[in-house]
Structures are given as C-alpha cells and as structure tokens.
C-alpha cells in the first residue's frame, strides 16, 4: 500500500537515498514517531547495529533532514530540534581532543544517546508485540448465550428524590449553555393531565370532548383538563374536530 502519493506517483516505501521529494516530506515525517524513530530508521537503513553507529555519519544525515525541513519552512517539532542539538554536541565533542580525566559525573552523550535509542527500540518492539497479541473483537470474541428465564428476585436500585433533582439540575445547567432550550416553570398537573388525555385518546379514532372531563374532579380538575387539551393542541399533539355548527366536539390524537 502506498504511504504517499507524490506528483501523482505512488510511493510504496521510504526513499532509499537521502533526497526526499519536498512534497513528500510532511508525509515522510508523519511516518515517524519522533526523532528517536527517525534516527533508528537512519541506522537501520545502513544495516547497522545501534552499537555500531557512526555518530558522525548519522548526524550528517539527520542534520540534512532537519535543514531540509527548515528550508520547507516547517514548524519543526521541538523534539527534532532538541535531537539536532544533541547530535551537534556529540559531533563537536568528537572533534575536540579529549581530556584524559574528564569529570566523571558527566555522562558521555554518545553513550546516553545509544542508550536512549536502545531503550526506545525495545518499546517500539514491545508495541509491535502487543499489536500481535490475540485480542478481543479482532481475533476472538467472548461467548455468551441467552440466560434461562429467571425468577429474578429483582433487587432494584434505590433512587433518592434528591438524586433525581440533582440530575435534573445538571441537565438544566447544561441546557442553559445551549440557549435554544428554555424550560420554564409550568404547572406540572397540566403536564400530567396531558399524558392522561393522550393515553385516553390512544388507539381510538375520536373521543367526545366532554368525555375527557370528569365532574367528580370538581372545578379545578376541569380547568386542568382544559388547559391540558389546549396545550396539546398548541403542541400539535391532538386535533379538535367539529363537523357541524354547535355539533359535538371530538378530540383525536394526531398520530393515531
């Protein structure tokens, strides 16, 4: 599978020589997980063991990549620049005559670099190993079967009214952030009645308007039912039908 298409030409592998078509540079860099990965690639391309790297040659190559990136006006990742500095330091040290008894506290940057490369390579490999492990949802699936009918002693979770209110308060706060929702205070008895009316209407064609009211509920009950029907009409949940003047009024759920 090509990892990049450059000037209409599919590139199937990383370039063998140092020259990278500038258009491919970005993709090329994305193929690496950072400066250590790039360095490892440069070393491997020379078929070298990490321990045998010619720091000088690798530094040259790395620097030319970095320069190329710079020329491309890439915003160089700090990590790549930092590595360039490390390599530059190593190179400069190698050019200088070495004092026989340097302070022991300071570690040789070459050894440090090699160790970092080795350490990184171990985990690069470990990541590949993990990728190979048989995994659920790709290589295997956990088996299950339909449980038998259970006379489950249902132990339902307890809910405290405060939890419910807390949850609602949370939704409202969130909803406030999206200003399109406004939940204003309304008489809940109307809402409750709306549900009841809808239920009465469900599965039936037309229900006489008067059948929705019950005298036993008294004046307040009638008012609540009336408000509920009005609200249902407003929300286009029911429609009112009257076939002739002063004829009986019927109510019908819109969707039935």
């Amino acid at each position: 599978m090509p990892f990049a298409v450059v000037l209409g030409k599919a590139m199937t592998e990383l370039p063998r020589d140092l020259y990278i078509p500038p258009q491919a540079l970005e993709v090329f860099l994305e193929a690496f997980e950072g400066p250590l990965d790039l360095l490892l690639y440069l070393i491997r391309r020379q078929n070298l063991d990490i321990l045998e790297i010619d720091v000088s040659a690798i530094t040259e190559q790395y620097m030319r990549y970095v320069e190329l990136m710079d020329a491309m006006q890439f915003e160089l990742a700090a990590e790549y620049l930092l590595m360039a500095a490390v390599l530059a330091e190593i190179k400069s040290r190698m050019l200088l005559p070495r004092a026989v008894d340097t302070d022991d506290d300071e570690e040789d940057p070459r050894a440090q670099l090699i160790r970092r490369l080795q350490e990184y390579e171990r985990f690069k490999k470990a990541a590949e190993d993990i990728e190979e492990l048989p995994r659920v949802e790709r290589d295997t699936w956990v088996g299950s079967a339909e449980p038998p009918d259970l006379n489950r002693v249902r132990t339902d979770a307890e809910v405290d009214m405060r939890e419910l209110l807390l949850a609602l308060g949370e939704v409202l706060r969130r909803a406030d952030m999206f200003e399109s929702h406004h939940i204003q205070r309304e008489a809940l008895s109307t809402r409750e009645r709306m549900s009841e009316v809808l239920e009465k209407l469900s599965g039936r064609q037309f229900v006489p308007f008067v059948a929705l009211f019950s005298a036993s509920e008294g004046r307040l009950g009638v008012v609540v039912t009336f408000l509920a029907v009005m609200e249902l009409i407003k929300e286009a949940l029911v429609e009112i039908v009257q076939t002739e003047n002063f004829g009986p009024i019927h109510v019908k759920a819109r969707s039935e």
Partner: protein, 217 residues
C-alpha cells in the same frame, strides 16, 4: 463427517456464541465469501449437528423467531440466576436525567430528551424505566418516524411518595440546588453516591466506576 463440514460446524458454533443474539440461516451464510458459501441445506444440516453436540451440556441450541441461538438450560436457572443476585447497581446519571426530563416535560419523545441532554439516550435506559414501570408510552408524536411519547406512571408517584406531579419541586427552584436542599429539609449532606453521579460523565447503563474516582459501592 468430512473435514470441511467439521470446520463448518465450528464456524457456526463460534459465530452463534460470539453473536449473543439469534442468527438466521441467511445470516450464517453471510459469514462465508460468496464462492465458498455452503448451500442452505448444508447449513441446516450443520446446525443439526451443532444442536446434537449440546446434549448433556449446560446450554442448548434453540430456534426462535429471529433465528438460532444458544440458550442456557432452563433447569439451571436456580444457580445461574444467582449471577444477578448481586447488590443492585446504582442508576447512572444518564438514567436519572432521562427520568427527570420525562417527569417534568411529559409527554416527551426520546429525541426531545436527547436534544435537551445533548447526548443520545441509550435503549437500555428506556428499557429499565419501563421495567420499573416508572414510565409508559402515552402516544406517538405526529412527525416522521412517529416517535413514542413518554410520561410517568402512578408507580413513579408512589415510589417517590407523591400524590401528583405538582408535588415535585418547581423547576425554578432546582436551578439553585442549595436553596432546594434547605427547602426540602434535606439537611444532611447528599449521599456520596449521588454526589458522585454528578461527576461521572455520561455513563449509560448501570453505573460503572471510571478509574479516576475510585468509588466504592
């Protein structure tokens, strides 16, 4: 039995166990590339063997309306049922929010709840609310898809010791939870679990603990 059909049988066994839902003969056929797909007669024959191989097992192969599935033997329910005897799990915040919106905004559709909450409402939540008989469908909105409209039930009122919905605290008060706590006479601090519900973001289904807040049940 030929070697190919042994593989066929194993494929069916594996698929039925992995699916966790009934599979039709046609669906089982689709496990194979077109050129290697066994004829339905072979599939049915292999299913027969799969069923036979359950003799004396804790599970059996049954055919239900939507296909074939493995099912745990009914005789084992006294033991298997204990798997579900664990302490009840706390309801998720998603579930509580859904219930609260149904109570305060009924009749309301799932889509409307989702719009207010800003996230999808899982089918599990609706199912649980139905199972507890706290909500019911009171009709369908006359819009494309004819979504069901939910309302709360008498059982809901009973559970929360309410005579009617008017006894629920007014929405305006809920915005100020501290005042609310005081007004409702909740002087003790909220149960830890409830407070944590507010933290755990959007868990649907039974509450799971995220690794960050090591909460104990």
């Amino acid at each position: 039995m030929s070697e190919t059909s042994t593989t066929l049988i194993q494929i069916l066994e594996g698929a039925l166990l992995a699916a966790g839902r009934p599979l039709t003969v046609a669906q089982l056929g689709e496990l194979f590339e077109e050129h290697e797909r066994p004829p339905n007669a072979d599939l049915r024959e292999a299913l027969g063997v799969v069923a036979e191989r359950c003799t004396d097992r804790g599970f059996e192969l049954v055919e239900v309306a939507s296909g074939f599935r493995y099912q745990v033997r009914q005789s084992l329910s006294p033991w298997v049922g204990r798997l579900w005897h664990e302490r009840p799990q706390k309801y998720s915040r998603a579930m509580l929010e859904t219930l609260a919106l149904i109570a305060y905004r009924q009749p309301i559709t799932r889509g409307e709840i989702e719009e207010i909450r800003g996230v999808a409402v899982s089918s599990n939540i609706i199912k649980t609310l139905h199972e507890r008989e706290w909500v019911r469908i009171v009709g369908h909105r006359d819009v494309p898809g004819r979504p069901a409209m939910y309302a709360t039930t008498r059982q809901f009122l009973d559970y929360f010791n309410l005579k009617n919905l008017d006894q629920l605290p007014a929405l305006a008060e809920i915005r100020d939870l501290e005042t609310l706590n005081a007004e409702l006479g909740f002087n003790e601090p909220l149960p830890a679990a409830a407070a944590q519900h507010a933290e755990v973001e959007n868990l649907s289904g039974p509450d799971e603990t995220s690794p960050d807040h090591g909460m104990t049940h």
